[in-house]
């Protein structure tokens, strides 16, 4: 690679030169997995934005079925998608549903009275629309997450000229979540061993969170300096592009699909803004 450095002859043992291992970029188990990461990212993004732009009930539901359900079925991840997607969206979906059902401004058709609050038909209709949009968004994002390794997307973006720092920050952020969950579990166990009560009433649980959150966050911050130094020591700050060992396959057809999706989204937004689509 032009402009690249050369390594020392090196003091380490000389082994026979071997080729790039075939497990790098090994094809995914389904046709959907094997799509280029950018294509899957485009599908997820367009689905999520289109669900918001379309509005109503039919549009987002059609998107959930056609752009999330069918691909998930093809990819063999439908069960996991439903579980993960509901887990992600249920708290916000439920609260949005209840707020709109009971507190929709200007609603007149009463369905149910529970003490001082009233469920209305207008509220129910709007709450269902919101629910459909949330499901479309969480479904699209979850489908992408379940069928794409973050590292693959980063490599693909880097191959297209996106800064490796942007890719690194994005990928590292995603990878940090499980690490923080693991750290939180360790700290919880340690604090419970020292008598912290994390079970029982909601108030007790809430009180128990404070001695756990502090060490988790402070510990993560303390690690940042060492991580930075480790990256420096491995040449991460060297200017210029780096060597890529492999990149996810792409095709002319997928490129056309991505541009088509983008054009369709733009057209949809324009039609919505101009009132052609209600």
């Amino acid at each position: 690679m032009a402009g690249g450095d050369r390594l020392n002859a090196g003091p380490i043992s000389t082994q026979s030169r071997r080729s790039i291992p075939d497990f790098l970029g090994r094809p995914g188990p389904s046709a959907y997995h094997r799509l280029n990461p950018l294509t899957k990212a485009a599908l997820a993004t367009v689905t999520a934005i289109a669900a918001v732009v379309l509005g109503g009930l039919i549009g987002p539901i059609a998107l959930v079925v056609a752009a999330v359900g069918v691909p998930a079925l093809v990819a063999g991840v439908l069960g996991r998608l439903v579980r993960t997607s509901l887990l992600l969206s249920l708290p916000i979906a439920l609260s949005a549903f209840l707020v709109n059902l009971f507190f929709f401004p200007g609603a007149e058709r009463v369905l149910l009275r529970v003490g001082p609050i009233t469920a209305t038909a207008e509220g129910l209709a709007f709450a269902l629309e919101i629910l459909a949009r949330i499901l479309a968004i969480s479904g699209a994002v979850t489908l992408f997450y379940l069928t794409t390794r973050p590292a693959d997307l980063v490599v693909d973006l880097e191959r297209r000229g996106v800064s490796r720092r942007i890719g690194f920050v994005t990928n590292a952020s995603v990878q940090t979540v499980p690490a923080m969950v693991e750290r939180a579990a360790q700290i919880t166990a340690a604090q419970r061993a020292r008598g912290l009560d994390t079970e029982g009433s909601v108030w007790r649980r809430a009180r128990g969170i404070i001695p756990i959150v502090g060490p988790v966050i402070l510990g993560s911050i303390a690690e940042v300096e060492e991580r930075t130094m480790a990256l420096e020591a491995r040449g991460f700050t060297r200017p210029g592009r780096r060597t890529l060992l492999w990149s996810p396959p792409d095709s002319r057809a997928q490129s056309v699909l991505r541009w088509t999706l983008l054009a369709a989204l733009v057209a949809l937004i324009v039609l919505r803004l101009t009132g052609v689509v209600a």
Binding site: D5, P11, I12, S13, D152, R242
Partner: protein
């Protein structure tokens, strides 16, 4: 290639006193120098200074000179220096890039960053994996390995950049005995291959096994320095807050009990 520190002093930004004073240290090809001392003695700081991370990344002020084969490295950027001096830290998890899906890609991360030609990246990665004895882990997710295995992966990542020198800051501090054994064996293997290593370590038993020389720091200064046997048998070691290796403690206990240590050694072969 010899790494030489001459009259090196270092003060962290905002600190009211220096963390290192008048350090003279030489790390020729193939040497393994152990670095011992109590907490706050300056071991980590010396590792950072020797590797070039201080003051380049850490900040602070440095005095004295650091040279590689007589050439002053003050003006070298970190990515150039990292091809000559690799540094490994205590916590294996923080040394992993977090963005590699396989151990192979993790080990290749350094040479890839240096934009080394692809064939050379692949060759140096396989070599580093083989040298650390972990080629069978190449396909695994680095984040799902044990601490000891992660430390070996981190060291392989440094080796793949083929540095002339390795600086290891307490590489076994967070490892269980099995992990410590893995790392100790790897260091011994590297040393026998001719890699020069500066290793800061609390476990003097490990230093007794791998180091040819030992330097003991106390409050940022060199308090003891010499061949490993000599330094680790020095009666001042305990006063300096460094635990003696088990054989030295055993010999002392034997003498106190009126037993000739040589007889113990003979009895244990």
């Amino acid at each position: 290639m010899t790494l030489t520190l001459s009259g090196v002093g270092y003060r962290y930004a905002g600190a009211d006193r220096p963390s290192l004073l008048d350090i003279d240290l030489e790390l020729p090809d193939g040497a393994v120098v152990g670095l011992a001392g109590p907490s706050e003695a300056g071991k980590t700081t010396l590792c950072l200074v020797a590797s070039g991370l201080a003051p380049r990344t850490v900040g602070g002020r440095i005095r004295g000179s650091i040279t590689l084969d007589g050439e002053n490295v003050d003006a070298w950027p970190m990515h150039r220096l990292s091809q000559q001096i690799g540094i490994g830290f205590q916590n294996p998890a923080t040394q992993l890039s977090q963005v590699s899906a396989t151990v192979f890609e993790e080990v290749a991360f350094g040479p890839m960053n240096l934009a080394v030609p692809r064939d050379e990246v692949v060759a140096s990665t396989w070599e580093a994996l083989a040298t650390m004895g972990i080629d069978d882990l190449a396909e695994r997710d680095p984040l799902r390995l044990s601490g000891g295995q992660q430390q070996l992966v981190a060291m392989a990542g440094l080796l793949a950049m083929r540095p002339a020198h390795l600086v290891l800051d307490e590489p076994t501090a967070q490892l269980d005995p099995a992990g410590t054994t893995l790392v100790g064996e790897a260091i011994a293997r590297l040393a026998s291959d001719g890699t020069s290593i500066l290793i800061a370590e609390q476990k003097t038993d490990l230093l007794a096994t791998v180091a040819s020389r030992v330097v003991v720091l106390d409050e940022g200064r060199i308090a003891l320095s010499g061949p490993t046997d000599e330094v680790l048998n020095d009666p001042r070691l305990v006063e300096l807050g460094v635990a003696e290796p088990a054989p030295v403690r055993l010999a002392r206990a034997a003498r106190a009990a009126g037993i000739d240590p040589a007889r113990l050694e003979a009895a244990h072969g």
